[in-house]
Structure formats: structure tokens, C-alpha cells
């Protein structure tokens, strides 16, 4: 959802940024390294403050029209670092981290140890990124006195927008001292306290005290932890911007030949305003690779009697055992009881803790608490955890230091301790450095006893990567390693990857929900090969606010019953400096389907289609907009709602194409279709369009998609089905493969009559049956001959003749007469001696003639008949099509066939001497032979035998016209 009250301002700020690019932003280069050298009497810093309306381009001026409740205040801010040095072969780097949506012009001012001031040209820090500036190069043209001193950074922008850190690295000895620039406003008193713990004897130590003001300040320094003890407080006068580098034994304790204990502390009080004096202790043991920069705190700034820390390392990155040590110093005047706990997360995700036994710390005393034995019970696979301490003396009387040191001293992991009641906003931005073997780890700790949520993103040029909303159990610490996610190419929840060649970016994190200052976060940069590690924490002015919401996937989702659609609400935020964060999935989304009969949705946005129709899938959740009131941030809760449509598409019906027109399939099914015909089928969705891969076809069809061409090559009642959740069936009747139909000739129906008269063979009317099959693509019905029945009826008259079989001759003369008469049959026809078998043979010959006549003319007739077609669309039933085609020519062609066959039939001779008589004669010859045999038996003589054996073959012996 677009939120005009939030984005427009941001858009205009982007316009401003773009305009800067157009007109040309001063970029950091050698030519700009040195600005104007100002004398020590000059103003502290250039007056960078500008009116809001004049700080930016014309587009920015327009923003004044918006009285946006979250509008950040533009002002000039200053950050200060106690000490830098380019001497001794140190590689000194100034890291500038811009968390805002617009570039920053950072103006560096250097102060020599004596307080001489050098202001250089502004350095451009691009939006939402960080830069490392080589200070050797930056100050290469400066006077020698600027090889060492203190420095300030001024910028115009939003509070907390810029973070800075100076790192001094001795690569030869794997030493690093890192100091994060601070805003002077964090001090409330003129008192500073520190404590040290030295893992090795006789280290190099020095204390740097810097006057960050324009006035002379008197400072008193007391040290505990030397032998012999300090003879008395050291009183020093610090000229404006002067920095003193002091040796603890020689300069502070006054015991140049004394000994520094492994633990101790320094107290400073000064005459300046709070924050006017900064101090830092630098420790090194070059042959051990050990180094530490110990900060001084203002004990009066404490708001509680607790100190918390996150990212306490139990083991080294490479698995090497570390020695975690807790140092506690009582700066008060009464014994303090100190106790605490180490918190960690087991591999199964459960949180656990180990108590730090209570210790009594006498006033002025510093005690070491060895944590090594305590963490021995923590499984080896658990790398880190959190630490919490509490004490019972007044706030700020106990100060602590926690660090984990490798056994060889090469790696020192310091754990900054902070007052949980005095935390900045639970949001921040850290440089992400992953070049070489650098790893940047992020620790985020829940400082409360209830579960909390946060987001963490990696922003980089051209993209973003998000872990989305993560949960932290009570007091749990999370470690995030974006380098590992990059190397393993683990996609984020939106599917984005961190490019493998990416080695630089900016980590952004923020608490979620409407409660601020409940999470703490910091980053830790480590290089195993260089043996260096540094910590960095930079909070934002407020937690991130919602900028825009949405839902995925967008648009209407088509699916079938049974289909699953995953919906996801999405949100992207903007930090209090108008920097956009990547899209992520918000937590605690409530999902609802407006039409449960159509779709159900679970608590994770997983929708299941249960019925056809459409339903709105609605996501609602709560987001927060933070308003920055300068000293505090106020949440506004927003009821977010996004909706998507799921359309559950079933198969309404199946259609087929007739010619070029899609036509519904009737309930009784289709067809009959001609065997082997190709039919275009289409599944019609209940609404909208089918989801991908739907419908699936079955039966004689296969595959997916709305349209399907099917060749029906199997006869009978066939089915096709289309399934998209539901299944719609269609029956397609397919005719048999077209084959030549032979006339089915029935056996003659013989009627025997003892009467005298003519025998006859009469053709029975043919009975023909048709079928029709359709080719809808051609819009045709085709006629098919289903069967043709033919035959004859016979009337056999036996009267008027004596049958020699049943009434044989009884005398020689009768025998002679019988055989003479029967021998004359072929040429003269039936006589007084005859048999019904001979008559049957004669008439059967006619039957055979009729058959061969019909059989001869039938194939061509069938072909002619089956060439007939009528329009498919004009006849919606097979019977109608058949009737039409019978009238259109089938009947005429069949009648013509009957007549033609009949004409040929009667052309076949049927007079005595023809083949029908030959057929009868061949039967009578058997009777003649029998009488001859009878005569032989009876001794009769002169009996004629068989006179002729005529040809009765090939009934259709005449050529066909």
C-alpha cells in the first residue's frame, strides 16, 4: 500500500540526491585532501548550519510544504575522536558510515597534540554506505605536527546519520586500536573512569587525554594498579584542543621504574564542561600481537545498576579456545556486590544461561572474574552469547570490561558493555566489510525478558538482502554473518542473493513493534589473517518505520480445486534518515478468506482452493511508524491490510470445434465420429482462465492446456475428460474403421409343394442399413453402409413327375423310360421322371446367380453411397443425417444397384440347355446311375446310362456389361 504521507518526502529527498549527482558532488580525492589551514585562534569548525530550506535543492525546498510527523531534523552535528596517530608505521583509516538516504559532506578537522587546527575539504560519503579513508594519504601534505593528535568530524544532516571510526593498525604485529567517534552530548559530568586488564606482563601502555574544547581545562588524574602506588593525583592543564599522550608509570603514577598490575583503573576529573575532555588508554604487546583500546566512561551517565554486553565470544572463529575475562572496578566508596549471568542459545534454539557468582568488590578495587571455567559447560559448537551484570551500589560506581583473548594473544575480542537503561534506539547501521578474509558479524541482543522481533538487512549498491523479521527469545543474542550467507549463496526470504563478488555494504537493523530500546546491536569486524578485530555500534535516531506494504503474488491467482497458493504480505521500511530498506515479510499477519467455500487460508498465508469461484485473501497486520521528537521516539500503530484474489477455476464444460466454431458437447455425448477423425476439444473454465498446467486431459486425450486435438482411432464409446479440480467427462462415440461391407446372403427360403406347376426363385428385397459418422472439423456427416441383407425365396413344385428315388422303376421298361426321360432334362426340361433334388439344384443355381449378380455390382455401389456427405451443423442427429443422405442419393444409388443387378440376373440364360438345367441334370445323373445299378441287380437290359454331364459352373458366366 502506497503511503503518501511517507514516501513523497522521501522521493523528494531522492530528487535532491540526484540533483547533487547532476551538479557534481565534491568527491574525495588527493586534490581535495587539504583544505584551508586555520590558525589555532580560528573558529572551532566552519559554520555548516543552514536553514532547512537552503540546505538542499529546490526540490528539497518543496519538502517544507510537508509537515511530516517523522520528518528528521537537519542540523550540524559533530563527532569527536580522542586520538589518532600516523607514526610508527601505523596504517590509520578513517571510516565514515552514512546511514541516510542522501550523501553527506563530512568535514574533518584535525588537531595536533599542541592543539593546532587543520580543517580539510569536505569528504563526500555516499548515501547508505560507508567509505574508508586512508589518513596517511589524507594528511600527506599536512605539517608533521598533524601526524598525531585528535580529530573531529562535522556534517550537516540528521542526528546519528553519520558514524565514524578511526582505526590504527600495526600490520606487522597484528595490532589494532579502534575508536568510534562519539557525540559529546552523551556526557553528563566532568568525570571519567576506566579500568584495564592486561593479559601479558609489561605491555606498552599509554593514556591519551584530549581537550575537545576551545578553552584551557585543568584535569586531575588518579591511577590505581601500579607498584608503587601513585604518589598523588596528577594535575595537568590542557590548552584548547591540546592532546597529551601520557605514560601511566612515568607521567601519571610518577613511578617511572614502577610496575603496572594486570588490572587497574584511572579516574579523571576536569574543569571543563561534560565531554570537554576525552581520554583513551592504548595497550599493546607487540610480540604477542595483543592490543586494546580502553575507553573512559562518564559514570554519572549511568541510568541503572546493570551492564549488558552482547557478542561475548566463547571460541575463536577457527575453533581455537578463547579466554574470556571479566574485569570489574568499583569506583565508589562502598563495597559492591556484583553478580551476573552468561546467556547463550543452545543448538536446538532454546536459550540458557550460566550464573556468574556474586563477588564483593571493595571501593577502589578492580577484580578479575575468570569466565573460562563458567563457559566450560557450554557445548563447543556454541560460539557466542551475551553477558549481563548487576551490582548493588549506586549507579555508575561499578564499571566493567569484558574481552575474549586468544591464547597467543593475537586476537582480542572486546565486548562493549552498556547500560540497558540508557540505550539508544534499537536500530542501527554498520559497515559490512567482507573483502579479503574480513568478516563482519552482527550481534543483536534482546535486553528484555519477553520475546522481541527485529529486522536485519544488508543494503548494497544495486540491491538488498533481508533476513526479514527475526525473533529473539528473552535475553537471547543472535549472530548474523552475511559473508557466510554470501559465500553459501543462501537466498533471502524474498529470493535475493548476495552477489559473490560483493565485499562491501551496509547492515541495517531495527526493532519491530512499538517498543524501542529493548534490543542492542553492534558489529564486529575480524580478519583472521591479520589477527585483528574491531567492534562498532552506531544507533539510529529511531527505529524503522513502515513505508509501503503489499502482497505477493500480485494480481489474480488462478488455480484449481485442490490447488495451493502461497500468499505473503510484504512490507518495506524506511529508517529515520529516509533510507529505504528491502522488502520483507512482516510477522504476525492475520489471514482471512472472504469466501471459505472457495478458498481456505491458514495462518501462514497458504491458501487451498476448495471450490470454484473467487475469494479475496486478506492479510492484516500491525505496523509502526516512528516519530522522532529529538530526545525520544514515539510509535504510531498502523492497521495494515492487503488483499489478493484467488480465482478457483474448474472445468465448466468441454466443447468441440465444428468448422471454426466451438460448440457445446450435448449431454448425450458426441458422435458418432468417423474412425480416425481429428477433433479439436476445448475445456471451458468456470471463470477467468485456467491456471498453468490445467486442465489435465484424460481418456482418449492427454496432456494439459485448455485446447486439445484428439484423433479418435478406437471405435466405440470413448471418453475424454478435463480436470481442473473437478473433472468433466464427455462421451464420444466413434464409429468402426470403415471397411467394405459384403452383402449378407441368407439361405434360400424353400417352400416345397406337391402341386403341379412351375418352380421359381424370387429375389427377396434387399434390406440395407446405414450409419453415419461425423467429421466435425470438416463439418460433415459421412454415410456408411452398415449392412445389406439379400436372399431368395424358392417354390419347389414336385407334382406331375415320378420320383425314381422314392418310387423306383419296377420293370425293365420303366427303367428304360425313366433314364431316357431324365437324360432329356438338360435339353428338354422336366419330364415324367424327375426329382425334387434336381429341381432344388436348378433353383439353387438361380440363387447363386442372384448372389453373384449382386456381389459384382455392390462394391462400386457402396463406394458411391459412402461418398455422400451432408452438413454436420444442419443435422444434429445421426438419424437425421442418414435420412438426408438417403434422400440425397443413397436410395437412388441403391435402387440403381438393384435394377442393374436385376437386369444382369435375368440376362443369364434360363432355357433348357442352359446352366440351371445343367445343375439339375447333374443331380438326375445320379438317379440314372442308380437305376442302372438297379437294373443290373434285377437283370434288366437295355437300360441307358448317363447321356451327358453338362457344365453347371460359374453361375454369372456372362460378361458384365
Amino acid at each position: 500500500m502506497f503511503r503518501p504521507d511517507r514516501p513523497i518526502r522521501s522521493y523528494l529527498l531522492w530528487l535532491f540526491a540526484a540533483s547533487l549527482l547532476v551538479v557534481g558532488i565534491p568527491q574525495y580525492s588527493n586534490a581535495q585532501k587539504i583544505g584551508s589551514f586555520l590558525g589555532s585562534n580560528g573558529p572551532d569548525l566552519l559554520d555548516l548550519s543552514r536553514k532547512k530550506a537552503s540546505c538542499c535543492s529546490a526540490a528539497e525546498v518543496d519538502t517544507t510544504a510537508f509537515t511530516a510527523f517523522a520528518a528528521p531534523e537537519y542540523d550540524t552535528y559533530r563527532l569527536t575522536a580522542t586520538y589518532y596517530s600516523l607514526r610508527g608505521g601505523l596504517t590509520t583509516t578513517l571510516m565514515l558510515n552514512n546511514k541516510g538516504a542522501q550523501p553527506i559532506l563530512a568535514v574533518p578537522t584535525f588537531y595536533s597534540l599542541a592543539g593546532t587546527r587543520l580543517q580539510l575539504a569536505p569528504i563526500t560519503v555516499p548515501a547508505a554506505s560507508y567509505i574508508d579513508v586512508d589518513m596517511q594519504e589524507l594528511l600527506s601534505e599536512a605539517a608533521d605536527e598533524f601526524q598525531e593528535g585528535s580529530m573531529k568530524i562535522a556534517y550537516e544532516g540528521i542526528s546519528q546519520q553519520l558514524g565514524a571510526q578511526v582505526k590504527m593498525t600495526d600490520a606487522t604485529n597484528s595490532l589494532i586500536w579502534a575508536e568510534q567517534f562519539i557525540y559529546a552530548s552523551k556526557f553528563v559530568s566532568s568525570r571519567l573512569e576506566n579500568l584495564w586488564w592486561l593479559p601479558f606482563q609489561n605491555p606498552d601502555t599509554k593514556v591519551v587525554v584530549s581537550n575537545t574544547s576551545s578553552g584551557t581545562i585543568m584535569a586531575s588524574m588518579t591511577v590505581e594498579g601500579t607498584s608503587p602506588h601513585q604518589s598523588g593525583p596528577l594535575l595537568i592543564s590542557l590548552a584548547p584542543w591540546e592532546t597529551r599522550v601520557l605514560d601511566i608509570l612515568r607521567d601519571i603514577a610518577g613511578r617511572e621504574n614502577g610496575h603496572i598490575h594486570d588490572k587497574g583503573g584511572i579516574s579523571i576529573t576536569h574543569s571543563g564542561a561534560p565531554g570537554a575532555i576525552l581520554a583513551r588508554m592504548f595497550i599493546s604487546k607487540p610480540n604477542k600481537g595483543y592490543s586494546a583500546a580502553v575507553n573512559f566512561i562518564d559514570p554519572d551517565a549511568a541510568a541503572s545498576q546493570r551492564w549488558h554486553g552482547n557478542g561475548l565470544r566463547f571460541r575463536h572463529l577457527n575453533g581455537q579456545k578463547l579466554e574470556p575475562v571479566l574485569a570489574v572496578r568499583n569506583t565508589g566508596d562502598q563495597t559492591s556486590r556484583v553478580k551476573g549471568r552468561i546467556l547463550f542459545t543452545r543448538l536446538n534454539g532454546n536459550t540458557d544461561s550460566i550464573n556468574i557468582p556474586e563477588k564483593n568488590i571493595a571501593p577502589g578495587n578492580t577484580k578479575l572474574i575468570d569466565l573460562e571455567n563458567l563457559i566450560a559447560d557450554i557445548p563447543n559448537a556454541i560460539q557466542h552469547g551475551g553477558i549481563e551484570l548487576e551490582y548493588d551500589t549506586p549507579k555508575g560506581t561499578i564499571i566493567t570490561s569484558v574481552q575474549s583473548v586468544s591464547q597467543n594473544g593475537d586476537h582480542v575480542f572486546q565486548v562493549p558493555m552498556y547500560d540497558p537503561q540508557n540505550m539508544p534506539s534499537s536500530a542501527g547501521g554498520f559497515p559490512w566489510k567482507a573483502d579479503g578474509d574480513f568478516t563482519t558479524l552482527v550481534y543483536i541482543k534482546n535486553e528484555t525478558d519477553i520475546e522481541s522481533k527485529y529486522t536485519v538487512h544488508l543494503n548494497f549498491e544495486g540491491g538488498g538482502y533481508t533476513l526479514g523479521v527475526e525473533k529473539l527469545k528473552a535475553n537471547q543474542t543472535a549472530e548474523i554473518d552475511f559473508r557466510k550467507l554470501r559465500d553459501e549463496q543462501v537466498p533471502d526470504e524474498m529470493g535475493n542473493l548476495i552477489p559473490l563478488n560483493l565485499d562491501k555494504g551496509q547492515i541495517a537493523w531495527s526493532v519491530k513493534g512499538g517498543v524501542n530500546k529493548i534490543l542492542s546491536g553492534r558489529s564486529e569486524q575480524i580478519s583472521l589473517s591479520r589477527g585483528i578485530a574491531s567492534t562498532y555500534a552506531c544507533a539510529n535516531c529511531c527505529a524503522d518505520s513502515v513505508f509501503q506494504t503489499g502482497i505477493l503474488p500480485t494480481g489474480t491467482q488462478y488455480t484449481a480445486v485442490g490447488g495451493i497458493e502461497q500468499f505473503a504480505a510484504q512490507q518495506h521500511d524506511i529508517n529515520c534518515m529516509n533510507q529505504f530498506q528491502p522488502w520483507y515479510y512482516p510477522a504476525d499477519v492475520i489471514w482471512e478468506s472472504t469466501e471459505p467455500p472457495v478458498a481456505l487460508v491458514d495462518g501462514e498465508g497458504l491458501a487451498e482452493a476448495v471450490g470454484t469461484g473467487f475469494s479475496i485473501i486478506r492479510a492484516s497486520w500491525e505496523s509502526v511508524t516512528w516519530t522522532n521528537f529529538g530526545t525520544y521516539c514515539d510509535p504510531t500503530y498502523n492497521a495494515e491490510e492487503e488483499a489478493a484474489i484467488i480465482e478457483v477455476v474448474g472445468v465448466q464444460k468441454i466443447q468441440y470445434k465444428v468448422g471454426s466454431t466451438w460448440t457445446d458437447i450435448p449431454s448425450g455425448g458426441l458422435g458418432p465420429f468417423c474412425h480416425g477423425t481429428s477433433v479439436d476439444l476445448r475445456a471451458v473454465p468456470t471463470s477467468g482462465s485456467f491456471p498453468s498446467g490445467k486442465p489435465t486431459w484424460g481418456g482418449d486425450a492427454s496432456g494439459t492446456g485448455a485446447e486439445k486435438t484428439v484423433i479418435f482411432s478406437t471405435g466405440g464409446a470413448r471418453t475424454v475428460s478435463a480436470t481442473s479440480g473437478n473433472t468433466v467427462l464427455a462421451t464420444v462415440n466413434v464409429g468402426p474403421a470403415n471397411a467394405n461391407i459384403n452383402i449378407t446372403w441368407a439361405s434360400p427360403v424353400v417352400t416345397m409343394s406337391s402341386t403341379t406347376g412351375d418352380s421359381e426363385t424370387v429375389n427377396k428385397p434387399f434390406v440395407e442399413e446405414y450409419s453415419a459418422c461425423a467429421e466435425p472439423a470438416s463439418n460433415l456427416w459421412r454415410l456408411r453402409v452398415k449392412k445389406v441383407d439379400g436372399g431368395t425365396n424358392m417354390l419347389i413344385r414336385t407334382g406331375g413327375s415320378r420320383n425314381p428315388s422314392t418310387s423306383p422303376p419296377t420293370s425293365q421298361s420303366e427303367a428304360i423310360d425313366a433314364n431316357e426321360v431324365m437324360n432329356e432334362y438338360f435339353l428338354n426340361g422336366r419330364g415324367t421322371w424327375h426329382t425334387s433334388a434336381a429341381t432344388l439344384a436348378h433353383e439353387h443355381h438361380h440363387d447363386a446367380q442372384w448372389k453373384c449378380s449382386g456381389d459384382h455390382y455392390w462394391p462400386a455401389t457402396e463406394a458411391d453411397i459412402e461418398a455422400l456427405t451432408v452438413s454436420y451443423t444442419s443435422h444434429n442427429t445421426e438419424a437425421s443425417a442418414i435420412n438426408q443422405m438417403k434422400g440425397n442419393g443413397a436410395n437412388s444409388r441403391f435402387t440403381s444397384f438393384v435394377n442393374t443387378a436385376g437386369s444382369y440376373f435375368i440376362s443369364l440364360p434360363d432355357s433348357p440347355g442352359s446352366r440351371p438345367y445343367a445343375a439339375g441334370q447333374l443331380v438326375l445323373n445320379g438317379n440314372i446311375t442308380a437305376i442302372v445299378a438297379l437294373a443290373t441287380t434285377n437283370g434288366w437290359t437295355g437300360i441307358p446310362g448317363v447321356a451327358a454331364t453338362p457344365n453347371a459352373s460359374n453361375p454369372c458366366h456372362l460378361s458384365f456389361p
Binding site: E760, V762, Q849, G902, D910
Partner: protein
Amino acid sequence: MLVSNRAYLVVVVVAIFGFVVAGVITQIPSARSHELGTRADSSLRPQERESQLDIVVKVVDGENYSTENIPLEIVFTNVSSYTINLLDAFDTSNKKRIFLTVTLRDGHESPFFTSGGGKISFSKNSMKYIELKKGEQTSVRINLIDYDLPHETLKAGLYSVLVTYRNQYGEDCFKGTVTSQPLNLVLNKF
């Protein structure tokens, strides 16, 4: 139209010549025995002699035509200029189906039923002839119901019927095929 006298003369001569030739070719019957032939005549072929014989199908006056009763009168007319013999073989119902083939057409003049045709083995000396002088007629009655007509499925309505007479038997008689003009019938439902 102007036609010369010479032209008329040519037409008349050609007509007379054609008539004579036709008479020779069509074997004008002569007075011969009316008995069955006793010799084999395998070369006997049906001959088209429509010019000799004409048949007309007529309704029978006074009959109620229905799908169960379709009596017809077949009138044979000697349309030649001489006497012809007609095989007298119409006495039995079976014989009617041998020599007469009926074709029934529906109202759209589509033939849908054809029945008839066959062979007969005359007993000796059973053939008789009907002599038809020029212009003389003879008739025979048939009923289509006797032709295996599927009258059960016949619907009332308009039909037409054709009758074909075929004969291959006898001597010195009409042999061949002649078909009537269609006769329209309106059948009532029985």
C-alpha cells in the same frame, strides 16, 4: 421458316429407310408356336423393346389406399405398329414378383424400396401368350403389400411407385425390360 420441297423429300426418304431397318433389327414377331421352346438358347439376352410395349401404372378405382392396401393396375399396351405376344405369366402372386419389380419412392422422389425379380422354371408346355395387336392393351392387378413391403413402418403420406416389367422367357414374345412412369399415391394410415 423457309424449307425447300427438296428438303422435305430427303426427310421422308430417310424416315422410311430408318423404319425398315428398325423393323429388321427388332425381329418383329411372326406367327410361331406358343409352346415352350425346347432348344437351348444360351445366346438369348434381354432386349430393350420399349418401342413395342408400354406399361402404365394406375390406381384402382374405388379402392381405399392405405399403408396396408396398395392395389395397382398395370396396363400393358402394344405401342408398336404390329402384333406382339406377351408371356402370360401373371396368374400367381409369386409370378407377379418374378416379372414385375416395384420401386416405391417417398414424397421427395427418393426410392426407398425395390422388390421383385426372379427366375421361373416352367413346366413343359405351360407357357401361354397374350396376343396384343397394335394399340391393344392388357392389364394385371398387383398389390404392393405382396412385395414384402415394410408396410408396418410405412407412414401415411405422398409416395410414387414405378413398375418395371422384365421378361427373358418364351418364344416370339416380348423379352426385355420396360419401366412405367411414376404414379403418385397418397396413402392413408391404416
